[in-house]
Amino acid sequence: MQISIIDYAIILAYFVILFIIGYFVKRKVHGLNDYFLAGRRLTLPIFVATLVSTWYGGLLGVGELSFSYGFVNWIVSGFFWYLVYLFFAFFLANRIRRTKLYTIPDQLERFYDKKSRFLGAIFNFIMVSPAPYILSLGIIFNFLFGLELWVTILIVSIVMVFYTIRGGFVGVIYTDIIQFILMMIGVAMIIPMAVYTYGGFDFLTNALSNPDLALGYIDTTKHLTLTGTQTTQWILIWGLIAFWTLADPGFYQRCYAAKDDKIPKKGILVSIGFWLLFDICTTFTGIYAVAASQAGLLEVESALTSYLSIAGALLPVGLLGLFLTGLIATVMSTADSFTFLGAMNISHDLYKNIFKKDATEKQVIRVTKIGIVITVGFAIALSLFFESIVDMWYYIGTIGISAMIVPILMGFFYKGKKSPWAGLGSMIAGSLTSLVWVIHGYMNAVDGWPIYIEGIEPLYPGLLMSLLAFVIINVIHVRRTK
């Protein structure tokens, strides 16, 4: 891919802007409430920008899915998620805001006890690991500049740590606004250019349905159908993964930080509109990439980097720089938010609320800054160990969701008496079951692919055991205390 000096200059300018924001944003922080939640002053537009940009970090993964499977990507990465967002907006968002807490472990302590907070903080820390995003950024820079992966990972981490340490959540918010604009404009540019250069649906239909042009390793003949070549079980598993939203610390943090009780619900509804428009663009960018390579008009190195290839082929100098910056911004906005959430787990949930209850605001902020470095250090180690984004998402997601969803939903919606042991037992049972299921799958792996019992994905038994443990322990414990 040919990248001109102007495009490099645009990418460099983006990083300079992040540095400048990091330098000046410290003036806006006047205490712990500012550092953790931007003083709970998020207005509707800012709430939307930070939620939309933070939530959307896996652009390369989405590119891979839409390139390999076609329109079904919109169903599994979009449609199912919108349903869960709607549930969150109507039944959870304003309730969360009204509690005026800081984190999900705060909620767990409110529902159960300190033990649940402690365990919840550990699972939260794993779930918000920025490792997949730091690795994504490393891969993008490796692709663009040809530098060693560990060098690019280190450079990106240093920039992110700088502005997050200085400005806390305020720094994250300010950079999110810039990143939101860049990611939306960057992604939206590709589609009109693709339609203009290659043609519309006639081109897509011809290129994808012609078996003589087949890429060989991908069957593209059903790329424009709703379900593609995928089975119902495969699609439903992705639907289940969308429940991640209900235990996502980023969603909770932004609801806590909203200016009033009405903003979270309105903000999520507006965000769904942005995600809808954005997802259609990303899905069709992947479909255009595969169609163009089918027709011999584009050379694609791999499905994972298909967005980079099509952007390089379609966009003129300057716009390519803008697109690449948008791509980097999409991942960066998620990486910085997750880093800060991990640091809050260490400082607020563990240090302040378990180990040193009389800690002053200054001490908590200092520990948060140390926490940022620890979170990023842990993420760098993970990303160098795994070297696969999808693997990391899969394991973090499976174990985290199995542990957290049931105790959180029961906490909000079960009106009867709740035993603290039920919350704790539910987390342990869910996470252990899915972990054992994963290990068992790998012990029976064929060609490196795990073979699960009866072909059932670990998330199902994990969630089932979590629910069973909650119900059984709660019934026994509540009866005994009566």
Binding site: T43, L44, V48, M184, V187, A188, I191, F201, I280
Partner: protein, 38 residues
């Protein structure tokens, strides 16, 4: 033809919606600056 139009319309709508939100960001930043001056 209609599908082509809708696809481009989606991208244009995304750019317009982003521009509208950007307008609100700028408005808010100036509002905050005015408050700071007062």
């Amino acid at each position: 033809m209609i599908l082509d139009f809708l696809l481009v319309l989606d991208a244009v709508a995304l750019i317009i919606a982003t521009s509208v939100l950007t307008y609100f960001f700028i408005k808010e930043i100036f509002k905050v600056k005015k408050k700071d001056k007062k």
